[in-house]
C-alpha cells in the first residue's frame, strides 16, 4: 500500500512560439554582452565613422554651414561609390574585431559545459541552434555595418533629391550585399572555430590566421606561377574583389573576378557548415 502525493505540476503558462524560439539565444547573449562597459564603449565607437560620414553628407547639402565654416564643396569628400565603399570597409573591419571578441565563445562554452544536450533535448533543432548563434553576431554586426550604410544612403538620397536615388540604387545594393556576405562568412568562421577550438584565445588566433596567412601564400603563388589562383585562399582579396565589382571601383586592384570572389566565399561557407555539422550534436563520441 502506498500513498503518492501528486504535488508536482508541470508548467502551464504560455510558451515562446516555435517560430520565434531561435531568438531566445540572441536575446540572452545581448543581455550578457551589454553588461560590460568596455563592450558598450566599443559598440559606441563603431558609430564614430558613420557619424562623421553623416556630417560630411550634411555639409555637402548645406550651403549655410559651408559658408560658416568657410569651406567649399570641392574641399570635402565627394558622395559617391568610393565614399560608401570606404564606409563599408571601415565598418566591416570593426565587425571583424567584434567577431574576434564575441565569436570564439559562441559554441565552445556550450561544448565545454556539455550544454548542447540541454539545448537540443528541448524542441530546438541543430539548425535552429546554429541559426540562433549566428544571429547573435549577424544582428549585432548589422547594427553598425549595412544598417547605418543604408540609412546614410537614404539620407543622401533625401538631401540630393532629383532622381539621385534611382540612379544610384546599385550602391545601396552593393552596401547590403558586400556587408551581408562579409558578416555571414565572419559569423560562420567564428562559429566553426568556436566549435572546434576549445581555447578561446586559439579560436581568436585562428580567425586572425585565416586572414593573415593566405596573403603571403597568394603572393608567392602569383610570383612563382604567374596566376591569381593563390588569392583564392584569401578572404580579404575576395572581399576587395567583390567590392570592386559591386561598387564599380576600377581603382581597386581586383585580383579575382566577380564569380571567383563569390566562389571563395561559398567554399569557405561550405567548409564552415561541414565543420559545424561534425561538432554540433546532442551527444559526445568517445572512441
Amino acid at each position: 500500500m502506498a500513498v503518492y502525493e501528486h504535488s508536482y505540476k508541470p508548467y502551464e503558462g504560455t510558451l515562446t512560439s516555435a517560430w520565434s524560439r531561435f531568438l531566445v539565444i540572441p536575446r540572452y547573449a545581448y543581455q550578457d554582452l551589454f553588461k560590460y562597459k568596455l563592450f558598450i564603449a566599443l559598440f559606441v565607437l563603431c558609430y564614430v565613422y558613420p557619424l562623421i560620414s553623416t556630417v560630411i553628407i550634411y555639409l555637402h547639402h548645406n550651403a549655410n554651414a559651408l559658408a560658416v565654416l568657410d569651406i567649399t564643396v570641392s574641399d570635402i569628400l565627394p558622395i559617391n561609390a568610393t565614399f560608401f565603399y570606404v564606409l563599408v570597409s571601415v565598418q566591416t573591419s570593426l565587425a571583424f574585431v567584434f567577431t574576434v571578441i564575441i565569436g570564439p565563445v559562441l559554441v565552445s562554452r556550450d561544448l565545454a559545459n556539455n550544454a548542447l544536450p540541454l539545448y537540443l533535448c528541448r524542441p530546438f533543432s541543430r539548425f535552429e541552434y546554429i541559426v540562433s548563434k549566428m544571429l547573435v553576431l549577424l544582428i549585432l554586426l548589422s547594427m553598425f555595418t549595412w544598417v547605418p550604410g543604408l540609412l546614410l544612403f537614404f539620407f543622401q538620397s533625401y538631401l540630393e533629391g532629383g532622381g539621385w536615388m534611382a540612379d544610384n540604387l546599385w550602391i545601396a545594393g552593393a552596401i547590403f550585399t558586400v556587408s551581408i556576405a562579409w558578416l555571414v562568412i565572419l559569423a560562420l568562421l567564428a562559429m566553426a572555430f568556436s566549435a572546434w577550438i576549445k581555447w578561446r584565445t586559439a579560436a581568436s588566433a585562428a580567425l586572425f590566421a585565416i586572414f593573415i596567412i593566405p596573403t603571403p601564400i597568394g603572393f608567392i603563388i602569383e610570383e612563382l606561377f604567374n596566376t591569381n589562383m593563390g588569392h583564392m585562399l584569401n578572404l580579404g582579396v575576395a572581399f576587395s574583389a567583390l567590392s570592386s565589382h559591386l561598387f564599380q571601383l576600377d581603382w581597386l586592384d581586383a585580383k579575382l573576378s566577380f564569380f571567383e570572389a563569390w566562389g571563395v566565399f561559398a567554399a569557405y561557407a561550405l567548409i564552415c557548415v561541414f565543420m559545424l555539422s561534425r561538432r554540433v550534436h546532442a551527444y559526445e563520441v568517445v572512441s
Binding site: K198, A202, S204, F208, I212, I213, P216, E223, L224
Partner: protein, 289 residues
Amino acid sequence: MSSMIEASTVKPAATQLDWSLWLRQIRAILRIEVKKNFWGKRALLLYLFAAIPVVLMFLLAIVDPNGSADIRNKWPNAQEAFGNIYEGLILRTMVFFGCAWIFMNLFRGEVVDKSLHYYFLCSLRREVLVAGKYFSGLLASVVLFTLTTAGSLFFLYYARGYPANVDYLFDGPGMGQVLTYLGITILACLGYGAVFLVIGLFFRNPIIPALLVYGWEWLNFLLPPVLKKISIIHYLHTLSPIPLNEGPLATVVEATSPWISVPSLIVFTALVLFLASIRIRGVSHPSNH
C-alpha cells in the same frame, strides 16, 4: 592538537645539482609532449601547414613544365625566387606561426585542458619543466620546419637536373647554402620558440602580444638601425644566403656578422628561458587561471 603551531623548521630547497635526474626528467617530459602534441590528430593541421612551401616547390619543379625550365635556364633568378619564398613564406609565415602555435600551446594549452597540475605534482623542479617543455617544442618545430626547408630545397635542386645540381652542391656554394638555410630555420625555431613560450606563460590571452611581435618582425625593414637589432628576423635576415629584397622603403643597415648574430640569438634565447623559469615558479593551480 595545538591551536597555535609554529612552522618555522622548514627544510631549505635542495641545493645540489642533480643533472642526471634532470636529464631523465627532461626526456620523460619530451616523451609525453611529443606523443601528446605531435602524434595526435591535432598535429595534422600543423603538418599540412608546414607542407605548403614544399607543395608549392613540388608544383613548380615537377608539375609546371615552364617552372622547371625556368629553374634550369635562369638559375640565379630561381635562387633569388627561392630566397623570397624562404624568407617571406617559410621563415616569416610558416616558422613564425608554427612556433607560435607549438610553443604557446605548451603551457597555455595545458592550462585550458586543466592537466598542467599533473606536472606540478611531480617531484620536479619547475625550471626542469620549462626546459623539458621547451625542448619538446624545439624538437617538434625543428624537425618539422627543417623538413619544410629541406623539402623545398630538394625540389629546387631536383628541377635544376643532374649533374648541374651535384656540381653546384658539392663543388660549388650549394651545400653551404643548404646548410645555412637549415641553420637559419633552427635558429628561428630556437628564438621564436623561446619568445612564444614566455608569452604563453605571461599572458592569459597571448594573441595581442603575439600579433605585436608579428607586426614588429614584419615592419622590421622600416625601423631605424638601433631598433632593427631588437628583433629576431634582423639576425636571421642578415644570415640568409640570398636575403629578401625589402623594397625601397627599407632602412639600410650594415649586415651583422654571423659570429655576432648566432651567439646573440642563443644568448637571447637563454635569457628568455631564464625569464620563463622565474615566471613558472609563480604559476598557480589551473583552477586559479
